[in-house]
């Protein structure tokens, strides 16, 4: 294959990387509107757009998908840097390809091109490793980027090796302008992103969206999930996929360690939750009972045991929901088989009563009927900040300025009392007799001698 052909392949591979990186960046950036969107997840660039959970979504929502997450809402997506890098590599390869026949690419130019292609290869190795070991899922669009990185690197290497120009000694200063061009691509695109991306509402970022009436737990229904210093409450459903994803994001965030995190169970399952009409998460009531049983119904809780049950529930979510939808007793039996400690407690009047109190904690605080929700102190993290904006918002809320802003938020008035007084019905006064005659008081009636037992 000729040197020009190999440069053409290099440019084509870089262009393919550009397309994959652009798809990924576009998917990331559409979420800057703080809404939920379908994202692409296919080896064919631009195909396979899906709304539900996928490896691509898990990777995009993970803290590894962007940098500067604490200072910029959502952070700067790493795919944007991939786009800049591939665009630069394409430009370099295309420039060499377009050269006139009289001045073929020098060895220094093809060498620089090859060395530059090592950057996406190294990043692909790092991100592939993180994807498998930390996120636990792979993303097809990311795999497209990894393959493009490898292809552009191999093609650039072959192009360099096939370059028959004389290898003259090249001073380092010759490479600097080319390197600066590459840096410029990254800097210009990053600055454009930072300037154009929608900014977070500073008030919401500091003090959240709403507040609890009271973070107190008089019925002792909360489970402890973290032992940091800042009080926080997570409202969760153990069979809710969003709660699982939120838990993973929070666990990966450095802020979790700072939170004295408690959990309030709020299963979105009409079996126990009167506030939902559809079984969004079948079996969630049974699973919540299991968590309460594992923790113990007394004054002290075995939070580690409850955490074990929660982890298991998160891991088995799909299977448990599916089983519960078909046969809830079988699902309860499965829980008991996995955690023999909950036998005798699961399904009992006491645990059902306790779960009701957990749901009524939500009522007494008039919180929205959805999961997950996070309250930092008394302030509710806005729903739009529970995914890409999590680190940014937690950084703001936990800052001294955020603490002051949260302290200034007035707790809402408690919901109307359950029972309000009402006056007794009017009793009609007897009409006075037209001609009152003096009467003797009636003789006292004898004590009743018999009762219903007389029969």
């Amino acid at each position: 294959m000729s040197n020009r052909s190999l440069l053409a392949v290099t440019a084509a591979a870089a262009l393919l990387g550009c397309i994959f990186a652009a798809v990924s960046t576009s998917d990331f950036m559409q979420h800057l509107d703080r809404q939920v969107h379908a994202i692409h997840c296919s080896f064919i660039p631009g195909a396979g757009k899906e709304l539900g959970e996928s490896g691509c979504k898990a990777v995009m929502m993970s803290p590894y998908s962007s940098y500067l997450r604490e200072s910029v809402w959502g952070g700067v997506p790493v795919s944007l840097w991939a786009l800049a890098t591939f665009a630069f590599l394409f430009a370099r390869a295309a420039t060499l390809l377009w050269r006139s026949a009289e001045s073929p690419p020098s060895r220094a130019e093809t060498r620089f091109l090859f060395v530059a292609t090592l950057l996406p290869v190294v990043m692909s190795v790092i991100y592939g490793f993180l994807s498998v070991t930390q996120v636990g899922q792979t993303c097809k669009v990311c795999v497209g980027i990894y393959v493009s990185s490898a292809a552009v690197c191999v093609a650039a290497l072959l192009a360099h090796r096939s370059n028959e120009s004389v290898d003259e000694p090249t001073p380092l200063s010759r490479y600097l302008p080319w390197f600066a061009q590459g840096v410029a691509f990254v800097v210009v695109l990053s600055l454009t992103y930072l300037i154009a991306a929608p900014k977070a509402d500073p008030k919401k970022a500091l003090s959240g969206c709403g507040a609890l009436v009271s973070a107190e737990d008089p019925a002792n229904v909360m489970l402890t999930l973290g032992s940091g210093e800042e009080p926080a409450i997570e409202v969760l459903d153990p069979l809710c996929p969003s709660c699982k994803a939120f838990d993973a994001r929070l666990a990966a965030s450095a802020f979790k360690r700072r939170l004295a995190l408690k959990a309030v169970l709020f299963p979105l399952d009409p079996t126990c939750n009167w506030m939902v009409t559809e079984a969004l998460h079948p079996g969630a009531c049974a699973m919540s009972e299991a968590l309460l049983c594992a923790a113990g119904l007394g004054a002290t809780h075995d939070d580690d045991a409850a955490l074990d049950v929660l982890r298991w529930a998160f891991k088995q979510q799909d299977k448990l929901r599916e089983l519960a939808a078909k046969d809830e007793p079988a699902m309860r039996a499965k829980i008991e088989a996995q955690f023999p400690k909950v036998k005798g407690c699961l399904g009992s009047a006491q645990v059902k009563s306790k779960l009701t109190k957990s749901l009524r904690w939500a009522v007494s605080n008039a919180i929205p009927v959805l999961t997950p929700q996070l309250f930092v102190g008394n302030a509710r993290l806005c729903d739009e900040d529970t995914d890409l904006g999590l680190e940014y918002t937690l950084a703001k809320m936990l800052s001294p300025k955020g603490k002051a802003a949260r302290a200034a938020v007035k707790a809402p008035a408690p919901p109307r009392p359950a029972i309000v007084p009402v006056a007794p019905p009017p009793v009609a006064k007897p009409k006075p007799a037209a001609l009152p005659f003096p009467t003797e008081p009636p003789a006292e009636e004898p004590a009743a001698p018999s009762d219903e037992a007389a029969q």
Binding site: S26, D33, A87, F90, W98, R360, I419, P421, A453, Q455
Partner: protein, 232 residues
């Protein structure tokens, strides 16, 4: 075009295209974000707020009765604490007995009837289990109503005391079993003796603590227990 010009042209185009894309994507996201923020105040787009139940059967008359019983039992804030005062049933309801019972018909799936032996006020095992099950099935209800009766055999005064003790027996069992602070705010007792709103035989088909024969006399030696799904 010389090679340098070609190089700069390619570099410019390669930089400009992604730059335009990023600016367009960011701008589109910004517009959608602004629109979504403006729509936040639209109640139809907001999640429901957690609240107690308020079922269709919660008529103003039923709510009024419950409020009066709650007041008589000291359940209301500043009501002076737990302890139901004797009330004339008519003062509670201002209704005829059949009309009073008719209000509870929609509760056929929610209510339970705990039956007692003649002249007895203690709960048997089945009645205990039934009242525990009933209490644990609170869901969104705010008020646990215990309406006790006595059969019409014997003196009215005695039967009023008997029905009062049956109601208290239910409360005491719940207190012993659940040790729940909410009991003092949520359980209302109303004892009707034999004089008012006797249950007809149709209530024999409801959930009872005893199976087998059921006469009007049997069904009125009872305490009717139910969570009331009303925002009262």
């Amino acid at each position: 075009m010389n090679d340098d010009a070609k190089g700069f042209t390619v570099l410019g185009v390669a930089l400009l295209l992604p730059l335009i894309l990023v600016a367009v994507w960011a701008s589109a996201a910004g517009r959608r974000y602004a629109a979504a923020s403006a729509a936040e105040s639209d109640p139809s787009k907001q999640a429901a707020i957690a609240a107690v139940s308020d079922d269709a059967y919660c008529t103003p008359a039923l709510k009024a009765i419950i409020r009066r019983v709650a007041g008589a039992c000291g359940l209301l804030e500043g009501g002076g604490g737990r302890g139901c005062q004797p009330m004339q049933a008519q003062k509670v309801a201002a209704l005829s007995g059949p009309d009073f019972n008719a209000m509870f018909r929609p509760l056929s799936k929610r209510a339970h009837i705990l039956q007692f032996d003649p002249m007895k006020t203690d709960l048997d095992d089945d009645a205990r289990k039934m009242v525990e099950k009933a209490w644990s099935d609170q869901r969104g209800a705010s008020f646990f109503f215990v309406v006790s009766r006595a059969s019409p055999d014997g003196a009215a005064d005695y039967n009023e005391g008997l029905s009062r003790d049956r109601a208290k027996s239910v409360l005491e069992h719940l207190q012993a079993k659940f040790k729940d602070d909410d009991l003092k705010n949520q359980v209302g007792l109303l004892w009707l003796g034999e004089e008012y709103a006797q249950l007809s035989e149709e209530f024999c088909t409801w959930s009872r603590s005893r199976s087998g024969a059921c006469t009007p006399t049997d069904i009125n030696r009872s305490a009717f227990v139910a969570w009331i799904d009303c925002a009262i």
